[in-house]
């Protein structure tokens, strides 16, 4: 059932021949004590470039785990995860880091900005990691522009403690997008924001992704936000199904 739903859901009519994201028959099992706990069951998913996909589902259903597989932060117990032509299943730690530099941007629910660095340097850090040859001055210049693009041109020198939640998430968004990733993963990006602020942040995220032709996969509990995605996938007890629209 899960396999059929996953396959059929992910492989709908709109899917191009060479998807950006391709997950095939992925299982993910954790060991809790000595007992195995299956988190994901036979998940398959294809996402095209520049496509926006929302994943919804109850807590504990496996949404975040799927996001971690897509980010190369965890490995599937079985099955395959291919992103932008790279099979993440067997990459080494350093190769995974290189993959994330080139391909991935991540937005977190809790923002996770570095409190000792200014907004500008939080963004610069990501750029400087992605492009190690870049001078700090140049990285800061581009970071200031990225912050201006998310409406924080006047807050570049402020540290996270001086920013509101919405502003912090916008810095997080600028950080995730600064290296022009092909895929943006977002784990409940509005979970810590009020509804209006959350809506504005999501709007901004979609705009940036569209401008950069990046695919977006985001987890949310908000049906309203999910409805704005190109596709909505539902995770239930580790199984993925696609809502037909």
């Amino acid at each position: 059932m899960a396999e059929a739903a996953g396959s059929s859901g992910a492989g709908g009519n709109d899917v191009p021949r060479q998807p950006l994201v391709s997950v095939s028959n992925a299982d993910y099992t954790l060991k809790v004590g000595s007992a195995p706990l299956q988190i994901l069951r036979n998940v398959s998913l294809d996402v095209a470039a520049a496509q926006v996909v929302a994943i919804v589902g109850p807590s504990g259903s496996g949404k975040t785990s799927l996001l971690m597989l897509l980010g190369g932060l965890e490995r599937p117990t079985s099955g395959k995860v291919v992103i932008a032509g790279e099979d993440l299943t067997h990459l080494s730690e350093d190769a995974l880091a290189a993959f994330r530099r080139k391909t991935l941007g991540i937005v977190f629910q809790s923002f996770y900005l570095i409190p000792s660095l200014s907004a500008q340097d939080n963004v610069s850090l990501a750029l400087e990691i992605a492009e190690p040859g870049l001078s700090l001055a140049h990285a800061r210049e581009r970071s200031a522009a990225a912050l201006a693009a998310v409406g924080l041109g006047d807050r570049v020198h402020h540290r996270p403690a001086a920013l509101s939640g919405g502003e912090q998430q916008r810095v997080g968004l600028a950080r995730a997008m600064i290296a022009r990733p092909k895929l943006l993963l977002a784990d409940e990006p509005t979970g810590n924001l009020d509804q209006n602020t959350g809506a504005r942040v999501i709007e901004l995220m979609f705009d940036l992704a569209r401008q950069q032709q990046a695919a977006v996969i985001f987890v949310t509990h908000d049906p309203g936000l999910a409805a704005r995605a190109d596709r909505v996938l539902t995770m239930t007890r580790g199984e993925l199904t696609e809502e037909r629209r």
Binding site: L67, D94, A98, L117, A126, E128, I129, P132, S135
Partner: protein, 849 residues
């Protein structure tokens, strides 16, 4: 690429801003250790250079031959003279008298040619005239150059006639400085210089006090100044005839023995400070990395490689290490500059203030290597942090350290290289492989003992049934729980405390060596050959409530050692001044039922007060090596024509008296039948010395009292300064150790605060939470203290025995106070680290978790 690296370093340093205060401890620990090593090495280098530069001046020639029993024979003189220029010097102690006063004199008699190098500084002595010629007889009396204080004491002036050992001498000038004064060490009495011809005319050269002999010294100066070769050649030419031959290095070694001990003490303290400073680096960096795991995960999530993470945090540690080591070098070099002239003055060698780059470079390198070695592994821990924790909180602590993986991978190579570099630098610094080896072994053993013992104790605690009391239960769970930081806390507290104990024990032993057990009980006056009625009168004076606060009388009679273990003294090869004096003929001896208060037993047992068995003797400890005898060996004496053979029962030390005691003391029942006089020691009330002197002169006009208190006080003062310096440095190290203790509390601080906060939100009373944490740290500190005391005392004993060559004692009270104090501090501060959790609104802190 360089630009990228520079950007990484810049961002790493910027990232440190919010946490800069927490690193104060790390910087201070590195600075203190580096400063100690830099200062000590600078002074050591200065002394070495001074020896090389002024070698001949220091010893008065390329080598010095000496013995106490007799002067050189004409044949020996001929042999010695064949090697180069020769000058004779005789050292002894005599009484000086004027018409009104008397004084105790450190008499130096010099022969033709003296000084071979350098200048005698004396007012009245023309620059182009040798002292020997200047002091030749005029108008029937020899001349003397005397210390200005001696003139004052005798109430005499230049040109007056004074009596030295009963012979009249004309005071021809005031003696300011002997060129080879430094190698004479501490001397009793005020100096006076006469010629050897004048010495031959002395009517009474009997030592005025037991324990003080006459030393015949011969200085030899060659053209090529190869002292070591000359010593070897002279030794071969003279054969095994009992001469002690010293090069400048040997002589200086003897002179600066106390300073050498002090230096060794400082080096040990410096190395220990750096080691515990390293522990502090470990705990601070570990807890920092642990608390920064979110930042690391964020960096990993945006694709930072392991190398990039390492560079980010390594830049921070390197900057802090550079600051700490830089401060240490500045303080160490500055202290060295200030200390050099003072140390030089104290040991009689010119030590001009200068910067010594090599020791400073070594000290800086040792500091940096320490910082690297102790931060490398926690930094490796950072590399294991995965971005997945941003999605799923796995607590605030960094993942457990994968020791097995590390020690079997190439990652361990930098640590091995750093440890080897540390040992190599320590060896360069100390030149003492035994010290470095002992230090390394003891450090490793200490860490292993602390680690294994903690694992065993935590395992045992887990098996115990849980306490019914919730506070005790929570406190114990904090130690035995799966996220327990018990091992790192016990290791850092244990290492710091063990270092404190080593430093305190060494400092106590060093002070004992310097000052003796009864340093402040030195007699003001001593008189030999008292008769019993005179001693009785002195006791009456003390009983009458005069200014005499103490009087002791010891039987004194003269005899000669004729054989050791049946071997006649002529066939023996004594070493050292005491052994030579012992075999030099009739010497003063005593008998005693009880061990004198001021003596310390070094080996063997003292006899019972009512002992009546075969004759036993107690010998000065220097005779163990000097005569090569041990407990149970036999010495044969000639006393008033009788032959008495006695067994060595024990060895004792009486350093506090500056040598004024008897080398040989018999057990009761052996010498009582022989005619004896008494050695009396009088202690005057403070500030009443002159009044006592006058009253003694009036009451017992026939007895010559020697005022040794002043001289001994001078020695005591000089050594007291060293002891004070040792205490100050020890105190510094103790302060450093306490900082490390405080630093150890940083481990898991954030987790503790989080736990405390959640417990509070769940409804626990603040006092219960604090009590549970205090209990947790009290138990950990107590456990660490018990292990550290055993480790520290064992290490101090080993270092004392192997390196300082002094007797070992432990001041239990000081140890107890420091240990209890440290435990209390850890428990109290452990509890206060969570106070922040109560001061801030819970909502804010919860958001930060």
């Amino acid at each position: 690429m360089m630009q990228g690296a520079w950007a990484a370093i810049t961002l790493g340093l910027l990232d440190m801003r919010g946490d800069i205060r927490r690193f104060g401890l790390l910087v201070v620990c590195l600075a203190v250790g580096t400063a100690l090593i830099a200062g000590v090495s600078s002074v050591g280098a200065s002394i070495r250079q001074a020896v090389d530069r002024d070698a001949a001046v220091i010893v008065g020639g390329d080598v010095e031959l000496s013995r106490a029993d007799r002067p050189a024979t004409p044949d020996e003189l001929a042999i010695i003279a064949g090697f180069g220029q020769l000058a004779a010097v005789i050292d002894t102690n005599v009484r000086a008298q004027s018409e009104t006063n008397d004084a105790f004199v450190d008499l130096v008699a010099v022969g033709e040619g003296y000084p071979l190098v350098g200048q005698v500084v004396a007012e009245g002595l023309p620059a182009d005239v040798e002292p020997f010629a200047f002091l030749n007889p005029h108008d029937g009396s020899f001349g003397a150059l005397v210390d200005p204080l001696l003139l004052d004491k005798l109430g005499a002036r230049i040109g007056d006639t004074i009596q030295l050992a009963g012979t009249p001498f004309e005071a021809r000038g005031t003696l300011r400085k002997l060129p080879d004064g430094a190698v004479r060490g501490f001397r009793l009495g005020l100096p006076a210089l006469i010629s050897t011809a004048g010495f031959a005319s002395l009517s009474d050269t009997t030592s005025p006090l037991p324990g003080l002999g006459t030393y015949y010294r011969y200085k030899v100066l060659t053209e090529n100044h190869d002292a070591d070769q000359l010593r070897a050649d002279l030794g071969a030419a003279l054969g095994d005839t009992g001469w002690t031959i010293r090069t400048p290095r040997d002589a200086l070694g003897a002179m600066v023995r106390y300073y050498d001990l002090f230096m060794r003490f400082l080096v040990i303290v410096g190395l220990a400070s750096l080691l515990v400073g390293g522990v502090s680096v470990w705990t601070v960096v570990s807890s920092y990395i642990s608390e920064r795991s979110t930042v690391i995960a964020v960096m990993r999530s945006v694709g930072a490689s392991r190398a990039r993470i390492f560079l980010h945090f390594f830049a921070q540690v390197a900057a802090l290490a550079l600051i700490g080591v830089g401060i240490g070098l500045i303080v160490g070099a500055g202290t060295g500059l200030l200390a050099l002239p003072i140390v030089g003055q104290a040991i009689g060698v010119a030590l001009p203030p200068a910067l010594y780059l090599q020791p400073l470079a070594i000290a800086g390198a040792v500091g940096l290597v320490t910082a690297f070695a102790f931060s490398y592994l926690p930094l490796q821990q950072a590399l294991n942090i995965q971005p997945v924790i941003l999605f799923r909180s796995r607590g605030l602590a960094a993942p457990a350290f994968a020791w097995r993986g590390l020690v079997t991978s190439v990652q361990v190579i930098p640590v091995i290289v750093a440890v080897l570099a540390f040992l190599w630098l320590a060896l360069l610094m100390t030149g003492d492989p035994t010290l470095v080896g002992a230090f390394a072994i003891m450090s490793v053993v200490a860490v292993l003992v602390l680690r294994v013992a903690t694992a065993v104790a935590v395992g045992a605690l887990r098996r115990l049934p849980e306490s019914a009391n919730p506070i005790i239960r929570r406190g114990l769970r904090g130690i035995s729980g799966s996220d327990s930081n018990a091992a790192s806390v016990v290791i850092s507290i244990g290492m710091a405390l063990a270092m404190l104990i080593v430093v305190l024990a060494l400092q106590t032993n060093l002070s004992n060596e310097y000052l003796g057990a009864s340093a402040f009980d030195v007699p003001t006056f001593v008189a030999s050959d008292l008769f019993s009625d005179e001693a009785a009168r002195l006791r009456e004076l003390q009983a009458e409530g005069s200014d005499i606060t103490d009087f002791t009388a010891t039987p004194m009679l003269r005899g000669a050692v004729t054989a050791v273990n049946g071997i006649p003294v002529g066939a023996l090869k004594p070493r050292g001044s005491e052994a030579l004096f012992l075999l030099s003929g009739d010497i003063p001896m005593t008998y005693r039922a009880e061990l004198p208060k001021a003596s310390r037993l070094v080996e063997g047992d003292w006899w019972a007060a009512d002992y009546s068995g075969p004759p036993l003797v107690s010998l000065h400890q220097s005779l163990r090596a000097g005569l090569g005898v041990g407990i149970g060996d036999e010495l044969t004496f000639d006393i008033f024509g009788d032959t008495i053979t006695a067994t060595v029962a024990n060895f004792r030390d009486y350093s506090w008296q500056g040598g004024i005691d008897f080398l040989v003391g018999f057990s009761p029942g052996v010498l009582e039948g022989y005619p004896a006089t008494l050695l009396g020691a009088v202690k005057a009330a403070p500030g009443r010395e002159e009044a006592v002197e006058r009253s003694l002169a009036a009451e017992l006009p026939l007895v010559r009292f020697v005022a040794i208190g002043e001289t001994l006080d001078q020695i005591t003062k000089a050594l007291g300064q060293l002891s004070l310096a040792a205490t100050a440095v020890g105190g510094l190290a103790v302060g450093n150790g306490l900082l490390v203790l405080i630093g150890s509390l940083a481990t898991g601080r954030q987790q503790r605060r989080a736990d405390a906060l959640i417990t509070k939100v769940l409804g626990a009373a603040q006092i219960e939470i604090i009590t549970a944490i205090a209990l947790q740290y009290l138990l950990l500190a107590l456990f660490a203290a018990i292990l550290a005391t055993a480790l520290g005392v064992a290490a101090a004993w080993a270092l004392t025995m192997a390196l300082l060559d002094v007797d070992f004692t432990v001041n239990g009270w000081v140890l107890a106070i420091v240990t209890v104090g440290a435990v209390a501090i850890v428990a109290a501060l452990g509890a206060t680290t969570i106070l922040g959790a109560f001061r801030t609104a819970p909502a804010r802190l919860l958001r930060e978790l």
